[in-house]
């Protein structure tokens, strides 16, 4: 039991360090995109979903409607997450109302890895609260950094944003059908960028899902 707790704490510290780094790049990039200082703070507390926040920051200035639509579509995966997690966070209303807000990919992964219900609940809350805290701390650091730095292009911060995204999505691209869908969608988006209004090209990436309709090649 004690060793389980120690492993859990070590995991929590490691993931907190990573979240501070990702949160900091999010904060700095939001400022670099010319958004007001309150935007990254509000997003990190109210939305609290890394991928959707990056996506929204990339689209907000161009088209708020596209930002909301894409962000919601991205976060729709929380619905099946919630169904899988169920009462792991506790069965009372207070637990479910507060606990739901802490639900992220990482929390779900850590929680589902536990078998014992008591341990599940402990893991859910420990990892959830750790992530929320470190994510917002990182955001604040990033905003400070971004505000201190005037010219973000000379520091290469415009290259940091896509690189951060790639690091985040790479694990999911190891699955072959997902990779085909994603790369096709990305190609459509790039080709559409010169001709469509800002915001729309990224949504066009959903056309990549059509590759699933192609006849499957014989045994791979």
């Amino acid at each position: 039991m004690r060793t389980i707790q120690r492993t859990l704490l070590r995991d929590a510290v490691a993931i907190a360090a990573a979240m501070v780094a990702v949160g900091a790049s999010f904060g700095a990039i939001a400022i670099a995109y010319g958004l007001p200082v309150w935007v990254p703070f509000l997003m990190s507390t109210v939305v609290f979903a890394g991928g959707a926040q990056f996506l929204a920051v990339g689209l907000l200035a161009a088209s708020p409607v596209a930002a909301v639509f894409a962000g919601l579509l991205l976060n729709a995966r929380h619905l099946p997450f919630g169904m899988a997690i169920g009462s792991s966070m506790g069965t009372g209303w207070r637990d479910r109302l507060i606990g739901s807000h802490l639900m992220t990919d990482e929390v779900v992964a850590f929680t589902l890895a536990e078998d014992d219900p008591v341990q599940r609940r402990r893991t859910y809350w420990l990892i959830g609260i750790t992530l929320f805290t470190s994510w917002n701390l990182g955001t604040a650091l990033g905003v400070l950094l971004g505000t201190a730095v005037g010219d973000y292009e000379s520091l290469g911060l415009d290259a940091a944003f896509p690189a951060a995204l790639i690091a985040l999505i790479l694990p999911s691209l190891r699955d072959r059908p997902t990779r085909t869908v994603a790369l096709t969608g990305a190609a459509v988006a790039v080709l559409a960028t010169p001709v469509l209004p800002a915001g729309l090209p990224v949504l066009c990436a959903l056309l990549g899902l059509l590759t699933l309709l192609l006849p499957r090649r014989a045994a791979t």
């Binding site: 780094a21 958004l35 935007v39 509000l42 997003m43 109210v46 939305v47 609290f48 979903a49 959707a52 996506l55 990339g58 907000l60 708020p64 930002a67 909301v68 894409a70 962000g71 919601l72 579509l73 991205l74 976060n75 929380h78 619905l79 099946p80 919630g82 169904m83 009462s87 479910r96 606990g99 739901s100 807000h101 639900m103 000379s154 290469g156 290259a159 940091a160 896509p162 690189a163 951060a164 995204l165 790639i166 690091a167 999505i169 999911s172 997902t178 869908v181 790369l183 096709t184 990305a186 190609a187 459509v188 988006a189 790039v190 960028t193 090209p201 990224v202 990436a205 959903l206 899902l209």
Partner: protein, 102 residues
Amino acid sequence: MTLAAIIVLGIGTYTMRLGGVLLRERLELSDSLQRLLPMAAAALLTALAATSTLMAGSGFAGTARPAGVAVGALLAWRKAPFVAVVVAAAATAALLRMAGID
């Protein structure tokens, strides 16, 4: 507009989080939908990464930014720590610009 967009996104996200927890017994998502959602997410994020790497406005982004991202992507693929990926991408783009290549 920005404020409204963030609030709507926040409320919508929270609704889906809580919805899954509360509707657990009553709702049945089809297998294909459960499979499609993560794929749609991957497609959107990959498209955002690709367009923000290659394009600036409606034209191409030049050399420094794509080169920086390529270095970062290579490190990410070799499973380097996240911080190393981000810093290497930014540093590569910054050094290229310092050398006069944009």
